[in-house]
């Protein structure tokens, strides 16, 4: 892979941000946290929203609708890798709603974990959205991940994914106390001091690795001219243990089934090492 350059805290206003260069590819990711009301289908969970935008100077093809739909696809892939079933299906969320309702009111402070529910019993991977709950059914943190692709020199999905991981590590969420006053009304107190802020647990967040097929070979980290040669690509989300947490295919040609397995295996071999490297950099005292 090409060397990766990573910068943290590039946006002062954001709760967390990161800028990543890989080759000439340049991606900037900001994480914004807001107090919002939780989704009615998951009252004990925070919200998560991912958007990916392309700067029109990245490449002329991103002007107009193509950039929008392509951005949406990448955002969906990243969002699916961060948290199970936020976008996967409304039906799944709707069916899980009654089960979650039983757990409402169990957690009172921001740090209390939500009671386990059958559908999302402390998700085995991704972010634990239950920790983002402030007051069950009423308020919860909403996490907005906004990515901007400033320049496209290939491997955009991988770059956005790695930058998102770094930005999430950088994110500080203010501590919140919920107090109940004499009238029985809940009041939320926000402790704005930087020392009281807490960070997200990213240890189970997977990285998305794009494996492309060129001829009969699997290749990773293609530059823009190389990407033109690939007939199809598979974006695989892999966690630090090397387990597959999701995959989406793209490209205009089909892939043979055996090739598909070879592609996922390549991603599984690559991702844990990459994950450790990024984490080691992020936790190094020099930062």
């Amino acid at each position: 892979m090409r060397p990766i350059e990573l910068e943290l805290g590039v946006i002062a206003q954001a709760a967390g941000s990161a800028r990543l260069h890989i080759g000439a590819t340049d991606v900037i990711v900001g994480v914004k946290v807001e107090v919002a009301s939780p989704s009615p289908f998951a009252p004990t969970q925070g919200r998560l929203g991912v958007t990916v935008e392309f700067s029109p100077c990245a490449s002329p093809v991103y002007q107009g609708r193509f950039g929008e739909t392509y951005g949406e696809q990448i955002a969906a892939a990243i969002e699916a890798s961060l948290a199970p079933s936020t976008r996967a299906g409304g039906a799944a969320a709707a069916a899980a709603a009654p089960a979650n309702g039983g757990a409402a009111g169990a957690s009172t402070s921001a740090t209390a974990t939500a009671a386990p529910t059958p559908s999302a019993s402390g998700p085995s991977w991704g972010l634990d959205l239950g920790k983002l709950c402030i007051s069950a059914g009423k308020t919860a943190w909403a996490l907005y991940v906004d990515a901007l692709v400033l320049n496209d020199d290939g491997n955009v999905v991988g770059a956005v994914s790695a930058a998102t991981l770094a930005a999430l590590v950088d994110t500080r969420i203010p501590k919140v106390e919920v107090t109940t006053d004499a009238a029985g009304e809940e009041e939320i107190e926000l402790d704005d001091s930087p020392g009281a802020a807490w960070r997200l647990d990213v240890s189970r967040v997977p990285l998305v690795v794009t494996v492309a097929q060129v001829g009969s070979q699997c290749v990773v980290d293609l530059a823009a001219p190389e990407e033109r040669c690939s007939s199809s690509a598979l974006h695989v989300a892999v966690n630090r243990a090397g387990q597959v947490c999701g995959a989406t295919s793209s490209g205009r040609a089909g892939v043979e089934a055996s090739m598909l397995l070879a592609m996922t295996e390549t991603a599984q071999r690559l991702a844990p090492g990459l994950w450790e490297q990024i984490m080691r950099f992020l936790q190094s005292p020099a930062r």
Binding site: E72, P84, S119, S249, A253
Partner: protein, 193 residues
């Protein structure tokens, strides 16, 4: 329900292309997907359309139709689980029925993995809601080429392989019945348009 229109001339603003384009559109009826608000429905529709386009593009010989566009419009009348697979099957049949030259029929189906590790082919909405992980696959069975794969949730290696094989088997069954259906449609006398 899927309709195919075209080929028609490509819009001038999109510029010249020597290959054709497939323009997919998916709509859900307001009663098809229960308890979704407008924006969620919009997101669902656009993701379904993207998946449909991805699945079909590889199968249609678009280089035979330069400068032209096919419009594939699909309406989901009732969402009862496995919507994406059904959409792909329907659209592929509609394209074949319209006489668009393709490489193969494209059946699509879903597999979901329960918490106990069981694999279920073509899950119902209840099964899909309780799933731990799932995948949707569209394939050209004659060429053994996968055109669409989308995987959710965490899979162990052997499980993913077993899931893929189950889905491939399901797609093989679907192709047989799709072929029968097309042949039956050809045998019937058509009303003049």
């Amino acid at each position: 329900m899927v309709g195919v229109f075209g080929p028609r001339q490509s819009e001038v603003k999109l510029g010249f292309t020597d290959t054709g384009r497939l323009n997919c559109e998916v709509r859900f009826t307001s009663f098809a997907a229960a308890r979704l608000n407008k924006t969620e429905l919009g997101a669902l529709e656009s993701s379904a359309a993207a998946a449909l386009q991805q699945a079909l593009e590889a199968a249609v010989q678009l280089d035979k139709f330069p400068k032209s566009v096919f419009d594939v419009s699909a309406v989901v009348l009732e969402g009862g689980g496995g919507d994406t697979g059904a959409l792909v099957c329907g659209a592929s049949l509609a394209l074949a029925d319209a006489g668009v030259e393709g490489l193969d029929l494209v059946p699509g189906c879903g597999v979901s993995k329960t918490a106990a590790g069981e694999l279920l082919l073509d899950p119902s909405p209840e099964e899909a809601a309780a799933e731990e992980a799932g995948l949707v696959l569209a394939v050209m069975p004659q060429l053994n080429e996968v055109t669409l794969l989308s995987v959710r949730g965490r899979w162990a290696d052997s499980e993913l392989q077993a899931g893929l094989e189950l889905a491939l088997g399901g797609c093989g069954q679907l192709r047989a019945s799709m072929r029968e259906c097309l042949l039956a449609a050809l045998a019937e006398p058509r009303m003049p348009a």
